[in-house]
Amino acid sequence: MAKVTLQNVSKNFGQVKAVCNFSLEVEDREFLVLLGPSGCGKSTTLRMIAGLEELTEGDIFIGNELVNDLPPRDRKIAMVFQDYALYPHMTVYQNMAFGLKLAKHPKFEIDKRVREAADILGIHELLARKPRELSGGQRQRVAVGRAIVRKPSVFLFDEPLSNLDAKLRGQMRVELSKLHHTLRTTIVYVTHDQVEAMTMGTKIVVMKDGLIQQVGEPMEIYRYPVNKFVGGFIGSPGMNFVPARIAAEESGLVIDAASFKLPIPPDKDAFLADKTGQDLILGIRPEHIEDRAFAEKGVFSGVITATVEVVETMGAEVQLDVTTGEHTLVARVDPRTRAKRHEPIELAVEMDKIHIFETEPPSSRIKTE
């Protein structure tokens, strides 16, 4: 197992800057997730680590070895592709054994490793089958098995779960996390799905337009997004953004969004005092807005009066789309709520958890702690 170091890595495709000045240290045994929307450069970065794309600038080290000019097979990596890339004319066993066979490992060694991997993934009864006879989930496992067999220093995953249906995805997320613990390996994982990133990653790198937006542990990114983009990208349903201003009133600082006003908790005063009158963006996560009837007093100190547009019953909670003045908000509220379409509702906001962002790009978050 090893760490991966990227120093000032850039990749241009002609005029297009796919990856810009990317520097990162992946610790040994970390499950690092490269997260971002399509076109943000995450797959390109992964492929550069794999040796499938050449770097325009910068250096990549696996372990302490500079690998820039090394072909993929010499980098001690293994990769799981989005479309699994299983050799269709070989059996599962042969697929998994292929790399070892090429490297001329002795037969018993190959057999041992393949069966070990098959056991870990629970696919030993599939060994004699061909890929076209397998389901999506099974193929996925074979692809992972092929990677395990190589005993690489780093595992690379390129959006491996995107082709699976939702339920299977959920199952595979758990399996991959378990795998990470069992194998104690370094993993670099690319996805656009923030749920995967949050649940599986030990560290997340959020990317946009080829640039790193934020690096941190899942909860850190969730709680303290560095800018509006990261705030909106993490969390589902996404964060509500409302243009607002800070005003000073008798009771203290408030955040004024025209159709509602929310009192700012005193401990944030110091950070926001000099922002009064400025155009800002208020960010509130839906899970931090509650039906006032069921909101814990004290914690939920802000109040918003709104009209309900859509009520979506999710079972364990209810998702409301509400309008207040010109703004639309999404709220996740207690399932006991009496909210009805086209009727007014009082919502309470957990003021401790709000975020304030600058309006000017990149809309960084104003530190309030």
């Binding site: 040796g51 794309e53 050449e54 325009t56 600038e57 250096d59 820039n68 000019d69 072909p71």
Partner: protein, 283 residues
């Protein structure tokens, strides 16, 4: 720094171009040879001196003039054009109808038609020309170009139907259904939605029918002896050799001229041509 992957990629491309050269020489040499021969004077063609790979004395248009004005080349050209166009129209009519029925409307035996079309390949012109000799004779069409109107479709229709089946089957039924929901009648669906979407296939099939008809040699050679009824292929072949004397300059010029229409058609519609060929077989 990097370099290895990029350098390897560039080298691969350069080597590929290099490896391409012998193939291009092989493919283009005969054409080059034909071309310069058609411009060389008779004297230079027959002389064994000098470098035959170049035109050494002044190039001449004599051969082309001879072909165009002193032989029935122009007649053959119109014959070939007439037959090719009529056959193409006939072929497309039959093929479109049949391909539509086979691919879109399931009916008893539709699957067998696909196989049946393929099996017509087993009865090539080299086999059929003999019984046709009798048939054409009985119909009194021996020695006329009209017999070809019956014979060429045996070549073009199966192949074009085959291509069109491939194209038609690839058009999702949902498209037809969307047209119906939008208020189209069946005919409107066909003319405004289906056929336009299938147009690459139609173009490809038309090209094939025309090209195959234009290039046919065996049938005209077997059945047509009157020079005014000949096609370009057998016309050039039979009349430009008088006994022992081969009019090479005219032969080469004629052969090139006769190939021009088809090659030009190909040059403009190459992508349709290629797509038509490769569509059906790649799954």
């Amino acid at each position: 720094m990097t370099g290895s992957l990029a350098a390897r990629q560039k080298r691969k491309v350069r080597l590929s171009y290099l490896a391409l050269v012998p193939f291009l020489v092989f493919f283009l040499f005969p054409l080059y040879w034909m071309l310069i021969t058609s411009f060389k004077t008779d004297h230079e063609i027959t002389s064994l001196k000098g470098i035959p790979l170049l035109i050494q004395s002044a190039p001449t248009l004599a051969h082309y003039k001879m072909i165009l004005f002193k032989t029935e080349f122009v007649t053959w050209f119109w014959n070939s054009l007439l037959i090719a166009v009529v056959v193409t129209v006939l072929t497309m009519a039959i093929a479109i109808l049949a391909a539509y029925a086979i691919s879109r409307l399931t009916f008893l035996g539709s699957r067998y038609f696909g196989v049946g079309v393929f099996c017509t390949y087993l009865v090539p012109p080299a086999l059929l020309f003999i019984p046709f000799y009798k048939v054409v004779g009985i119909l009194g069409l021996l020695n006329t170009k009209w017999c070809l109107l019956f014979l060429y479709p045996t070549l073009t229709v199966p192949f074009c139907t085959w291509i069109l089946i491939g194209y038609f089957a690839a058009i999702p039924r949902a498209l037809d259904e969307a047209a119906f929901v939008d208020g189209a009648t069946y005919i409107q669906m066909l003319t405004k939605v289906f056929l336009p979407v299938a147009s690459p296939g139609l173009i490809a099939a038309t090209m094939f029918a025309f090209t195959v008809s234009w290039a046919q040699f065996l049938y005209p050679l077997a059945y047509i002896y009157k020079t005014s009824e000949m096609m370009l292929t057998n016309g050039i072949y039979t009349t430009l050799i008088r006994g022992d004397v081969y009019f090479w300059g005219e032969l080469m010029g004629g052969a090139l001229l006769a190939s021009v229409p088809v090659v030009i058609l190909f040059a403009f519609l190459m992508d349709y041509y290629v797509a038509g060929l490769t569509r059906g077989t790649i799954r």
